[in-house]
């Protein structure tokens, strides 16, 4: 059964990696979903919210609610942290304002992270993807702990043909991105990154899969700085590969 979903592509994919957005549309199509893209969307407001600047986060949250309220169907977000922002963060942001809170909850109920949507809502793990070689998965903190989504991306990767999934040691450790944390505490962020890259390197996998673009930029940036050839890819790219 075909259904129509709303793509909230996130400001990072929109600005840096449009090809991930396109891959995601193709994967959603294959799972039987027609995708709509409300063009007035920008950012969910998470960076300011997490930094404590709720006054700056609010207009963006209101904007996002207004944009997506005019649409129908599930809202799909290819990022654990942005999905957690809409599902949990908005409730916190508007907790003292019953009217906005109600609208925020209406949006939260329709919002799903990409892999969560595919596995839990569309009941799909095998989407015909093929990826020759090793793959290693890093569970992003807000996806795994904030949304409790971990078995879904793993099940999706397990179903990829020809892929050998290798476990990442200390997989649950944070990569050190953490939004403004990555610029505010460069030394600490750098230590987390060093540890994560070391663990990844030890697996011998050329490819690290993530489901959150913040972690992707951080990890890929770390690999580039070290002159390493391994790649970090978004799970949508893997699921789109043939």
């Amino acid at each position: 059964m075909t259904e129509t979903v709303q793509l909230f592509v996130t400001c990072l994919i929109d600005s840096f990696f449009p090809h991930i957005g396109e891959a995601m549309v193709r994967v959603l199509n294959r799972a039987g979903a027609r995708v709509e893209f409300p063009s007035r969307q920008t950012c969910c407001g998470q960076p300011a919210f997490n930094a404590g600047l709720r006054g700056e986060a609010r207009p963006l949250a209101e904007h996002t609610i207004e944009v997506f309220e005019r649409t129908s169907g599930e809202i799909i977000i290819p990022s654990g942290s942005c999905a957690a922002m809409v599902r949990h963060g908005y409730r916190e942001l508007f907790r003292d304002e019953p009217e906005w809170l109600k609208r925020a909850e209406g949006l939260a109920e329709r919002t799903f992270e990409f892999t969560e949507y595919l596995v839990d809502r569309r009941q799909r793990t095998d989407l015909g993807a093929r990826w020759a070689g090793k793959l290693c998965y890093h569970p992003s903190c807000h996806l795994m702990r904030g949304l409790g989504v971990d078995r879904q991306p793993r099940a999706l990767l397990e179903a990829v043909r020809e892929a050998e999934i290798v476990p990442l040691p200390e997989r649950e450790d944070c990569c050190g991105f953490g939004g403004v944390f990555s610029v505010e505490h460069p030394e600490l962020s750098g230590e987390f990154l060093k540890r994560k890259i070391g663990n990844f390197e030890s697996t011998g996998s050329p490819t690290l899969v993530v489901a959150d673009t913040g972690c992707l930029i951080h990890l890929q940036g770390g690999l580039k700085r070290r002159g390493m050839n391994q790649r970090v890819v978004h799970i949508a790219e893997v699921l789109d590969s043939r």
């Binding site: 063009s39 095998d126 903190c141 904030g146 230590e191 770390g222």
Partner: protein
Amino acid sequence: MKTSDFRRGARDSLRDENLQAALDNNAQRRKDGRLAAIATLPDFEERRRRAHAVKAEVVAHLDEYLEQFIERASANGIQIHRAADAGEAISLFLEIAQAEMAGRRGTGATPLVAKSKSMLSEEIDFNHALETAGMRVVETDLGEYIIQLRGERPSHIITPAVHLRRADVGKLFAEKLNLPYTEDIPTLTNAARKALREVFLEADIGVSGVNFGVAETGTLCIVTNEGNGRMCTTLPPVHVALMGIERLVPSLDDLALFLSLLPRSATGQKLSVYTNLINGPLPEAEGSTRAQVRHLILVDNGRRLLRNSPLAESLYCIRCGACLNACPVFRETGGHAYGSIYPGPIGSVISCALVDREYDSLAQASSLCGACREACPVDIDLPGMLLRVRAGLIPPMTASAGGKDGRRKEGAGLPVLVKLGLKGFRLAAANSGLFGGLQRLGGLVSRIASPRGEYMHLPRWTGWGYSKEFPRLALHPFRDHWKMVRQEVVETGNPVNRSTGEVEPARSQASGDVSLAARFTEELIALGGKVTPTREEDLPGRLRELLKSRGITRALVDDAGAGYLDGITAVREPDPSVRAGVTGALAGIAESGSLVLVSGRGGTLTASLLPEIHIAVLKVSAIVPSLEEAMKRSEIRTAAAGVIVSGPSRTADIEMTLTIGVHGPGELHVFLVDDAGTD
């Protein structure tokens, strides 16, 4: 405390290789220990949720529970005092000390205070205040003793000397205790034991914290591993306990629930070695040479304000330290970088309310990864609390804590450039047309800045450029691509079986067919205790045999122990030169290999504490399956004090290395008397 102070502290920590090795060691061992201990509780998640609900109830109705607790504890003979803030708590203690000391020592003598670990005492800067008042205060927990000798403050709420390695302690003891330099941890531990033993025996006042107060019974529960907590609450003629007003649980049942969570989360133990349950002062002959006096100082110091703030959930904390051990920031920085005596995730929430408002900037020291919440045995939403502190949703300070006004300040500690950047981003992102234009402009600029590579090099001062490259923006954002996307909706693949991919919850090991005595024996042996099954008529002979084999001819006894001695001299006064103690036991707990001992039976508490060897006689019929069952014994409520003993006294305060035999007995023998007639 400015963010820059934390950053400087963090940088110092990162450069300190010794500290880094110590912290890595701590993180790994504590994590493994906690996970292994939690695996023994099949219903851990359910207990965690229940614990959260119990604490929510207590904090919501704090005054009612406090009133009930105070009424019961007073009726039990504990003298209750209430302090609104740190200053009042100190004054109250000094008044108590003055009154209790009057006429006890010659005028001019320096009062000696033996102190067991208490984070509340650190919060109110207790030691410093007492020393200023002319008292001698000695920390008796091994870790606390070490840092007191170094003139430092704790770097962790459970393992205060976690930042040190054995060589640091070796050097310290060589210098301060005139010990030949050694890195042998048992030798170092023994040196501290010797030095502190005199303190316990001579102390005028014993001071302790309180882990839990039980409202329905007025019981104080204090858990320790080394035995110093037992010493401080048993031997000195006066015991003063310090307790935060939120540290309450409604009932003994609830206490059992929290005791199943606290040691597992803190140190990876099923139960701490000594779980002290104190109802009232000990009568003569139980502890010191005269009837004991007990005081309790209940301290608010900002807790009521915290309760009425958006951070109320942080009062559910039971100070287990699991969030520190799980935190990747703490793993890099250790506790001292935070400045506050409450470090780590929970410290970054409560320090601004309980210690100093300036600590509100500590909330920035987190990547919000949520490992803290996952580790919290009370399921406190620590990332959520950190976000609220960042948003300035913190309580106003009490006057004495040196706070400024309660004005809401968003983003405390955020660098100005970050603030400006986020404000600029908001202005751009509030309008999708402007946002798209800026995205395209950014794409063009970053293409010029880095014509070849997809990632650009940013200078170190940007923060990002310190350790990683930054991606170029796309020339055309996704919103431009979208117009060209052709969709072809075809359903691929088969719907998954709902059951595949589901992660099965861990099953507990079946243990239903193992008898209680066998389980008790197995657990106690795992803790380093010895168990000898025996018939009652053989007991005196076997006891004599054991003691004689050690060259021991005299033993401290309680009433039960006295009845079993044959050919061994019974000693009833607490004599520190006697090497063995023989006691009965009220009950045994199979699931944790623990003994339940209570006062009122002729000196059980001292005979099981002072000597280096403790021999207990336990009847098989007295073994119960669980802590919950043991708590149902009426003696737990009626005895002046009791203790649940789980193995020989131990510490891991130096490099997380387990050392047996600190202040309490280093050997624990249980003679298991089969009185069930199944022999």
